[in-house]
Symmetry: C2
Subunit: 396 residues, 2 copies
């Protein structure tokens, strides 16, 4: 099937497409109220968009006391692919033009196997979603990778946990394979984008989105736009020094945040605690599973295990100390905590909150919500879909 070929011809059309994406179907009159254009001009632009097939006018809305309006909506067959590549698993989802998730698959994977193997798996997952009848094809795809990206070109640069990806032209390669436009970004930035589009950060202008998974990263949003830094590594807070001359870290330095807290560090510390006989609960799980993960610690904590709770609290304290510094520096209007460890829930959140409210400036924390993300694993894929849709809904 022939996919979306047209792009908005001007900023008015782009504006209209985004309104329809974010606000759902609308009449011409309602659109007119939002865009500050004369009805005549609006009608012209809508007509042109109808010609391109990007939007359709289907059926009439109920009357509101006068002539019934035509329902204008984005083409119902538009489909975006959202891909969120983590360190140990992939999420792939299909959305419609309104970025509603129609289907979502998660599979384990090892990012270190390199781009070729990973993309093979991603394409198979995409094919599976297609086969299930959710899409006839994709009009665009957004990809998140767990490392810094040279954004304009969509190429990972010097990613620590996925060395085989350095310099691999992700955007170009996937665009070729999928036959549609592709945009690539850091997974943390996409989580922030997702929470901004459909989650807790909907009304926030400047906010931070801390993702605690295998590692720790932070999405930075300034004035509604993701800030990526000079070389695309902004938000890479996992190796900020939390304790001067502290624990050795895998990166070669000492005292990095990730040496104290992250999915990996938590699993390691829990294993150690179990082996030292500090917690029967954890030892039990270790024996059953052969190894411990962050999820095990979460479960143990939920069961009331004191050691697990201590580990979470201590990690939260360290993380909170670092976030406190970032809050003083950046003065955000909101801090979102997300990622794989969200399962640790309110114990973690409480520890982080305590540190931030205690250490940051009162003026910066005065009215600062610190909350868990509300989209969970969907945040990344929604953010990815939003990324490509923002790109496609821009003047060509």
């Amino acid at each position: 099937m022939r996919r979306m070929t047209a792009r908005p011809a001007n900023t008015h059309q782009a504006r209209l497409l985004r309104l329809l994406r974010d606000g759902g179907p609308n009449s011409r009159a309602q659109l007119g109220d939002q865009v500050d254009l004369s009805r005549s001009k609006l009608a012209v632009e809508v007509e042109r968009l109808l010609e391109t097939g990007l939007i359709v006018a289907d059926g009439l809305a109920a009357s509101r006391g006068g002539r019934r309006s035509h329902n204008i909506r984005l083409a119902p067959n538009l489909r975006f692919l959202g891909v969120d590549i983590g360190a140990t698993s992939v999420d792939v989802a299909v959305t419609n033009a309104e970025l509603e998730v129609l289907g979502h698959i998660n599979q384990p994977m090892d990012v270190r196997e390199g781009p070729v193997a990973v993309f093979e798996q991603v394409l198979a997952m995409a094919a599976k979603l297609k086969a299930s009848g959710l899409a006839e094809g994709f009009d665009g795809a957004g990809i998140g990778v767990p490392g810094p990206v040279r954004f304009p070109e969509g190429i990972p640069v010097a990613p620590p946990i996925m060395p085989g990806w350095d310099g691999f032209p992700v955007r170009e390669a996937l665009s070729q394979e999928l036959g549609c436009p592709v945009m690539v970004d850091n997974d943390v930035n996409l989580m922030a984008t997702g929470e901004q589009h459909a989650g807790v950060a909907r009304s926030a202008g400047d906010f931070l989105c801390v993702k605690i998974g295998t590692g720790i990263g932070c999405g930075i949003v300034v004035g509604g736009e993701v800030y990526r830094g000079t070389t695309g590594s902004a938000g890479d807070i996992g190796h900020i020094v939390a304790v001067p001359d502290g624990r050795p870290c895998a990166c070669g330095n000492r005292g990095c945040l990730e040496a104290y807290f992250s999915g990996a560090a938590l699993a390691r510390d829990a294993t150690e605690a179990a082996q030292q006989g500090l917690s029967a609960e954890l030892a039990n799980r270790l024996e059953t599973n052969g190894s411990l993960s962050a999820a095990d610690v979460a479960a143990a904590a939920a069961a009331g295990d004191a050691t697990a709770l201590d580990l979470i609290r201590e990690g939260g304290n360290r993380t909170g100390q670092v976030i406190a510094g970032l809050v003083s520096f950046f003065n955000p209007g909101l801090v979102v905590i997300g990622g794989g460890v969200t399962g640790l829930g309110h114990t973690l959140l409480a520890a982080i909150r305590t540190q931030v409210y205690r250490q940051s400036l009162p003026l910066a924390t005065g009215n600062l919500p610190i909350v868990l993300g509300e989209l969970g694993p969907a945040a990344g894929v929604i953010g990815a879909a939003r990324l490509i849709s923002d790109h496609l809904f821009s003047p060509a």
Copy 2:
């Protein structure tokens, strides 16, 4: 005398005014090359600006092989007032429309005496500059204050070191007194603005400007625009925790950066060292002056005093550790070090560089210059003039 009453009527005019401000006098043809407007349209806008008196056409430039061009320049009698209020002194300067400093006065002052007393002094200093013939009046004034500011209203909010200023309508009050438009910002932001306009940061898009004076602050520039945060306290890094559970700080917490390094901390540590007999050089100066300042430490260090050098190095290390964290987080393209302690020079810079290059991510530090500001005490007043000129050279 009647001052500047007009404002640019549209973005084209604003653009032209800024070009003339930043690039100096120009012909219509040269302007046309820079603004991507047709000559006809350009001629119209220039004509209108000439009518308002914001620009003047004086004399003809030398021929470049054809008809001689008219020199277009900003009205030569335009004057901006730049005020930089520090903790212990004020800088006041007059600039022309091109933001060149025509006269600059510095006087000691205590910001804790409150806005009324301070403004009396500032107005006297402005009158002095006026009396010396540098200005017949001011077309606008920019003011920097050492604390957070609610920017749109120009009102300090909860400033720690100047409690008497909390909520004082600085912008409105000064605008009334001076009879011209006034803009207010944090002094650190203005230093960043100054270095961006006329200093080392001229070509930087995203950069940090760390000001080490009585306290420590950091100006954040994102995409060429100062980032102020949600409540105007962004960049307030003095009370970021450098050492968990470290030295007690005046703010009530422990281990704050300012407890380890700042003009005040350095003076205190030097006094202590002198009293403990660790340094003859410092003891000497203490006896002579009755007290020690950061400048004394700088002088002692310049004379080769080991204790002074150690103090600077140690402070630089602590500061560098904090900056390293910010560099990982923000991934700037440049870090500028400035403020009163610039006199500590390369000993300080070397310590900071060492820490940053050692602790931050290689990708973030790969091509990251860390340099001293080049404008010294003029940075703040130039930034202040730039602030008000940006405001006035915007469409009304």
